[in-house]
Symmetry: C2
């Protein structure tokens, strides 16, 4: 990647000024939509709305053309109908913008000769010296740059280590929203749409050398240049984890790819072997991708195999063993003296200190939880601990007490502190699992409490999952990546 490209992309991701081309003063068109989103999100730079009719909107002067804009622009956001897009791109290029994002659709994806021709025209303009994101995309989400998607007025303003490159606008915005509550923060997200200019390979290389990005997620349906993409993936994944969600791996899905982004899908056998060879992590949906990203950003970078499970109930032990085996983990019996120490803390009868550690009571005190975690961590046969908390049981307790509200009598903050203290004291990571099994409207307070607990824990750097299965599966993704990475580095020495 040339220094020029690097500078251009920096200006695109962190623009000091933006022209929004195609802003109507009413209705809910894309232009007005992105303007409102940027204002609500708090974009800190200058915004120049453009519309031939002129006027004023949201206190901003609407310029009749890009040429009329008084200052320089770094980024153009284009939302005019497809036939008018080429001249808007050209105007931005002449104005000296580093790039444009084209939200409009009606190009190659339309499947018409006109659409294809329009897309070729904008690709040619790009070659003359301006970078293009899109067309047919939701744009860029860049918390550091103050940029947000269409529509993305309420995405997180926090910047973080996860990047995302996506051939689907829907997936981009869904992932951005999911990240906000799962505990992921983003460096850059790019919805690349048809990819008339900037595409998966170049963006992957850019993010591979981006110091703000530690983990890269991708949603791809097909790639333009297979060997170049393969090279980039191999290279980048040897330095930082890349999680790939490949849409259209089934036969029917492959046909659907054709009509969505008109790119060649390729067979699942080929793709899966590419992922293996490159040590890229494969996810089957956004939920998995975001779960993996959480483990990859919050847990120490190494191999994991031996886990403790701390929770309640015999069936949990069985489920844990089934899931551990499925995802290449094991639940070793704790050393006898450690078992004895833990046993002293547990209620009788019905508890077990073997591992899974069965607390036999949903109302564990923070002291007991901390004590169990600290003692279990002493066993060097343990790599990581998983705590399952069924907080919904406090609702039954509230009813028994005749209490109106469940939160005051649930020590959720103290339980989070107990976990955090154990991690700090033992340096052994803990994953929390907080299932929400009471989702009826009337129990919204229970859900609110579980979400607050999740936020407290993820703010502490403790990853939280909805279910034990997701936790173990994510651990497997993390562990597999670093195991292979280490083996390769060793082979190269």
């Amino acid at each position: 990647m040339t220094g020029d490209t690097h500078d251009s992309l920096k200006r695109i991701f962190e623009p000091e000024s933006i022209a929004v081309i195609g802003v109507a003063t009413e209705g809910f068109g894309f232009g007005r939509g992105i303007l409102i989103s940027l204002l609500a999100y708090g974009y800190p730079g200058k915004i120049y709305p453009v519309n031939p009719k002129g006027g004023v909107t949201h206190g901003l002067t609407i310029y009749r053309s890009v040429e009329d804009i008084p200052g320089r622009i770094d980024l153009g956001i284009i939302a005019v109908p497809a036939p008018k897009v080429p001249e808007a791109v050209e105007a931005c290029r002449k104005k000296g913008a580093a790039g444009v994002e084209i939200l409009s659709s009606g190009f190659r994806e339309a499947g018409t000769p006109e659409g294809r021709e329009l897309e070729e025209r904008i690709s040619r303009i790009a070659a003359e010296g301006i970078r293009i994101i899109g067309p047919n995309c939701f744009g860029i989400y860049s918390p550091r740059g103050g940029l947000t998607f269409l529509p993305g007025p309420d995405l997180s303003r926090e910047s973080g280590p996860v990047a995302f490159i996506s051939q689907s606008g829907g997936h981009s915005i869904d992932f951005a929203h999911m990240g906000k509550w799962k505990g992921l923060a983003f460096s850059k997200m790019i919805s690349l749409g048809n990819g008339a200019d900037l595409r998966e390979t170049e963006l992957l290389r850019y993010l591979g050398s981006d110091p703000d990005t530690e983990v890269i997620g991708m949603y791809i349906e097909g790639v333009k240049d297979g060997p170049a993409f393969f090279d980039a993936l191999h290279d980048v994944a040897s330095r930082k984890p890349v999680i790939v969600l490949k849409g259209g791996l089934s036969e029917a899905g492959g046909r659907a790819v054709q009509s969505h982004t008109a790119s060649m899908g390729g067979s699942s056998v080929i793709w899966e072997s590419v992922f293996r060879q490159c040590n890229a992590i494969q996810a089957v949906d956004l939920d998995e991708l975001s779960d993996y990203a959480l483990a990859l950003t919050m847990l120490p970078h190494r191999e994991y195999r031996r886990i403790t499970i701390v929770g309640g109930g015999g069936a949990l032990g069985v489920y844990a063993a089934d899931m551990a085996e499925r995802y290449g983990m094991c639940i070793p019996e704790l050393k006898e003296d450690i078992q004895k120490q833990i046993d002293l803390l547990l209620p009788k009868p019905g508890s077990s200190a073997r591992n899974p550690i069965d607390i036999a009571n949903p109302y564990v005190t923070p002291e007991v939880l901390n004590g169990v975690l600290v003692r279990a961590a002493q066993d060097d046969a343990v790599d990581v601990q998983i705590v399952i908390q069924l907080l919904y049981h406090y609702k039954a307790l509230a009813i028994s007490f005749g209490a109106d509200s469940v939160k005051p009598l649930t020590p959720f903050k103290e339980l989070a502190d107990a976990i955090d203290d154990a991690v700090n004291a033992t340096k052994k990571p803990v994953i929390a699992v907080l299932p929400d099994l009471k989702q009826e409207v009337e129990s919204i307070e229970v859900t609110e409490m579980i979400r607050e607990t999740r936020k407290i824990l993820t703010d502490m750097g403790i990853p939280v999952y909805d279910d034990l299965r997701n936790a173990v599966q994510s651990l497997n993704a993390l562990s597999g990546y670093y195991k292979k990475k280490k083996a390769r580095e060793k082979a190269l020495q």
Copy 2:
């Protein structure tokens, strides 16, 4: 099953009077816990608390012994320490109770000679003429009988077609809570614990002939008498769907089963062939089990293969195609004249009437949604329709409007009506998918709205899933069961 057994079980599931043996007047022991749960749940019959100390609790006289109870009892609920359980069971037998549920633990599961001996003693008492649920269980949940689990003060009072037999108390109570908001209502749930007397096979046969039960779920770790269970499963599943979650199918899981219910697990190969031969539906966790039960109770009983997908975004089409192929479904292109009719309703550009029907806008009006569903249903190549609604996008709309609240401007009730009207007009079933992708604390209002929508739809008999994948997978479970059932019935003619 003898008539006697039938009568006994009816008295146990719908008892007119209950003795709760082992009720302390303070603390949170099991006896006091179940008493509070029964009172809060609204058990309509007589409750006689028993404790040698006597006294009064919650306005009820505490009797010093079972013998002292003035009236007859149908069911005894026993929560005294294990060594005192045999005499309590014997007292209930002498008092003429049909059965007891023993919540206490400290029996065979404890792995001690004393525990085993105690369990043998209570089994012998059962043989003399009283039925036992447990020990080491959470009891019975029977909405019609007004019985609830420990702790289960806030389970649904509504009776319905789903039964559950479980070797795990935790799974029983988790499933009961999940059913409440997923749209499942229950006939009977039995947490059978160690199964000292009543066990999986007898209960399965009972529920097989229970007119209130249409779908049976089971969580089993191991069975006592393999061939008898196989016979019962084969017989019952030939009449109504049985969904089995078998814990401990992995090697490690099998070892965990040993220490939980001390039953022989058996290999996964054997189990899976049993399920196939019996046409039992296999689930890997409670989420799957409850999802399958929803499709089985709400959708017409037949085979399904060809679906329409109505939603927004090209990636959804790709994802839908991938998931459909994975679960044996297909998404046929609609007939040309129907496509034309649908196309007239859709916004331009970016939409598609082919199938997946891409509405290209998260803010679809109820009229358009209804129109699309009604027209697509005319195609006889369609068995069932799936609508995906990303209601969270209305949050962005609320922000754009400067509105404080998202609910007033979201037509969620009208969208539910639009779906219901289409089902009624066309007699073609619809499944709704309502992902909740905004789960941060501050967006609780969005979650509340999605949950209200779910409730409205499930009350209309329209099944709702969190994700397209769960919907298609559940459809596959339903379809596979009825396909095989039909083929078998034909072969027998």
